[in-house]
Symmetry: C2
Subunit: 181 residues, 2 copies
DNA sequence: GGGTGCAGTGCAACTAGTTGCATAGGTTCC
DNA sequence: GGAACCTATGCAACTAGTTGCACTGCACCC
């Protein structure tokens, strides 16, 4: 399971509270590993029990207290172990493909709308990624270490969204063509 | 949830037993919706309760009896309803991206091996898909209806694997370059 | 002064998927 | 004759993720 490890990676980049982590999982790290605040709080608790992170409360004025977590020695060990250990590719579960496969059993117009909607969502995500690429990584060939790794992951997001958009376009074109006949 | 709907699509293509379905989920439909035989048996039972499929036992000689399922009127209704209803894109959880993002916290050589291994797995899958494309869909522009939809889903698999392979190559090249410096 | 929204943490109940095991007769290979 | 594998169905226990809700208190807007 990788939520623990995603949290370790994120906390290593910068220590923070569950709330702050939840925000990071809304963007950056969340672009390739989804998690809600519920999961994060629950997992952080488990990670404290495992000794992978330590926790200290921080009083704040004008806002509620918070618990700041940071990666321990044991946490770094676990992270290194996990990084070197082989993993399987994610299992694929792609809703929209099931719908396309079953297209002839429903209303083709409605399905094409649905595909167009997904295309738009992916185009939106792609725009976000491209904006980050342009703003944060204007000179990619000069990158190294951590920054390079962040950039490479972003590249994966860009490639993935592009592939999905192109697929949606192919499906829409073929279905329209088939419709006309 | 789409397992029910994937089963409906598959049973509509051809009625069959839980065992036969499980085999289909090892290939064809399983390429874009993963499911184990456990899940399938459990879900089929629920679907009988919901009235989406009907079930009759078939005695066989030389092998155990089997239960053959087929889609009911209600099942077709549910499928049509689901096909027309909007769904969210799958939530992304990509292990390997987490590992790349955390690359500087572990052994870079081991991680590069891991990426190369994934690249090989995706290349293998791509070969399978391309072989199916060549064998089953030699003249795609002539396709229509059900066969066209099957082809389009396969195209999605091909595009996805290609994108992943290219990404792995980009990551490997960049990390090797970074290593040299 | 009242509503909305943010910062912050968390429980409880649920759904979905995974893993390991059980059973049982038949075939195939050595 | 025994081991391994195929067809066929299923239970039980577990892990992971989702959804809905609860509580506090400050800030900001109208």
């Amino acid at each position: 399971m990788a939520l623990e490890h995603a949290i370790l990676v994120s906390l290593d980049e910068r220590s923070g509270s569950g709330y702050e982590l939840a925000q990071r999982f809304e963007k950056s790290i969340g672009f390739f590993w989804a998690a809600t605040h519920q999961q994060i709080y629950r997992t952080l608790k488990r990670m404290v029990d495992l000794g992978w992170v330590s926790c200290h409360e921080v009083a704040q004025d004008g806002r509620p207290d918070k618990k700041v977590y940071e990666v321990t020695e044991a946490g770094h060990g676990e992270l290194a172990r996990w990084l070197a250990s082989p993993g399987e590719p994610e299992t694929i579960r792609h809703d929209l493909s099931v719908k396309v496969r079953g297209a002839s059993l429903g209303d083709p117009e409605a399905l094409m709308d649905e595909i167009a909607r997904h295309r738009a969502l992916h185009a939106e995500r792609l725009d976000v990624y491209l904006a980050i690429e342009k703003k944060d990584f204007p000179a990619p060939s000069a990158l190294s270490g951590r920054r390079l790794h962040q950039y490479l992951v972003l590249r994966g997001g860009i490639r993935g969204e592009q592939a999905l958009i192109e697929w949606c376009d192919e499906v829409l074109a073929a279905m329209r063509e088939d419709d006309r006949r």
